[in-house]
Subunit: 314 residues, 2 copies
């Protein structure tokens, strides 16, 4: 197996769940206790936000680290606050790595030739967190520019024991406008999937899963089932569960019968559980960490009860 | 016209050229005089690189600011050096804005819903450089996720007098694998172009050019000509001239007869002219700034002599 998929599956087996927690710090939704404390420490708006993000994300990581195999920080919410936000992203990735979590940086990068190489070197640390400035295990990558622009990412991933997740079928309502276009009986997302499977096979080194995964939205369960079959060597990253509307039933087909081969992501539903039903009824805003913990455990149970991921508990 | 296209064309007219200078700091290619000076100022590797990048980019900006209408910093080369690199990108954008240059941040971002909004708020400053943390006039955006994921960028661009450039036909050798797929007589890039033209029209407010431009590689001159016709309201950003192999003849069809509607980019060929023929024969490495200036002027003359951009000098 690729080094990345080996480490990923080791974590999935030891935590007995494929639940992936997105780290999406949105300033307006942070608990007021976090924001108030940050105001004591920072002077400029960017400093206050950065301090609040760091506190929130570090606590979030500490809560979920014993429960789940991996986290997925969303780069956009950090970049939105400029260089101080980027510095927090770097520390959040490092902090998560020290707890043993697999870190998938969701930055959806993509460019040509030596520019793609620069992104790959920057984000794909792989097995040694210090091998890249942003010490992630894996990165999400956009395929629009072509297979030749994925290859620099694949090369660095393979060398460093890292992984990439290529966008195949995204979870947004309008995903199909380009991704569903059919040419000679095959949709664009199916053709991208065929490329992903080839690259995954090449990096599987004769074993089950390669270093090249695929993002496939839970909001399209039929396509998910079909794509699981089309990419047997590719670990899946499945967004769309929870706040975006999909339930455990919709993601069941992402797994092998042993509950392997996929991570199911929830971001807002866990990060901001304290202000969402049913947790908002049970927990006061200052008890947001308990809401995070309960929402994470509920997601884990839901996946165990309604998908093959239950086999991980046997 | 959209505020962005108005400002862009004002600059193109006043500089009498559509030449766009890419800002691609690659540490190994920096002149040794820049690196040596940076070693005096920094202690960690990242600090040295950041100091060298800032010196190099600021000087590059000062040389090209009187000559060209716009610059295009490539985010990957800054991100490669982590938070200190990102901090330099922010200062490079601000410095370029203070000289009156239009700044197109080439970061090829793209994501869904509120995440796309976060990227848009982060990068699209538009007419007020302080309206966003990364104070760019425009941002390059990847369309794979669908039209609904472009709309948050378009909305912010329209509000702030900023622009976006959507990847339509990229300049890499393997661009066609997905972009050329034909469905019902129309290739994927043509369908993306149709969406871009609609969004450009909507943001043109009854005039010529909207806030939504398109990236079309000079390495595919037939497609460039066809796409210029298909997107009359969309300003073009044309990479591929110079180091990537295309000459002025290949980009001539990007322009209106008045020489408007397109920017032609050169990055490495200008940034590192000092170590490339014919400039490497004329200038010593420590005289790299003279090489930058001559290479920029040669590009401007080449475009004026062999494309409709010559009309800008009338």
């Amino acid at each position: 197996m690729s080094e990345f998929s080996q480490r990923l599956h080791d974590n999935i087996r030891s935590k007995q769940t494929p639940a992936l927690v997105g780290i999406d710090p949105r300033f307006k939704q942070l608990p007021s206790s976090i924001v108030d404390a940050a105001r004591q420490r920072g002077s400029s708006e960017a400093e206050i936000v950065a301090a609040a993000f760091e506190e929130f994300c570090f606590r979030l990581i500490d809560i979920v680290a014993p429960l789940v195999p991996a986290v997925k920080p969303q780069a956009a919410f950090f970049e939105e606050w400029g260089p101080p936000g980027c510095a927090v992203l770097e520390r959040v990735i490092r902090r998560a790595r020290t707890t043993g979590l697999i870190v998938i940086c969701d930055a959806k990068r993509g460019d040509i030739g030596s520019t793609a190489e620069a992104y790959a070197r920057a984000y794909l640390a792989g097995s040694d967190p210090h091998a890249a400035v942003w010490g992630a295990d894996a990165l999400t990558v956009n395929p629009y520019l072509g297979r030749d622009t994925l290859e620099p990412f694949v090369k660095v991933a393979d060398e460093r024991g890292a992984g990439i997740y290529v966008l195949v079928r995204t979870s947004n309502p309008g995903a199909g406008i380009f991704q569903d276009r059919i040419t000679e009986g095959q949709s664009l997302y199916q053709q991208v999937a065929a490329v992903v499977e080839e690259l995954a096979q090449e990096t599987a080194h004769g074993s089950e899963y390669g270093a090249v995964g695929a993002v496939v939205g839970a909001t399209y369960p039929k396509e998910l089932e079909q794509l699981r079959g089309a990419m047997p060597h590719s670990p899946l990253l499945v967004p769309g569960y929870g706040s975006q509307g999909a339930g455990a039933g919709e993601v069941a087909s992402a797994f092998t019968s042993q509950g392997l081969g996929a991570l199911i992501n929830s971001s807002r539903g866990i990060n901001f559980a304290y202000n969402r039903a049913p947790y908002s009824e049970r927990y006061a805003p200052e008890d947001w960490e308990s809401a995070v913990e309960e929402a994470t455990k509920d997601m884990i149970d839901d996946l165990a009860n309604s998908t093959p991921a239950g086999a991980l508990r046997d």
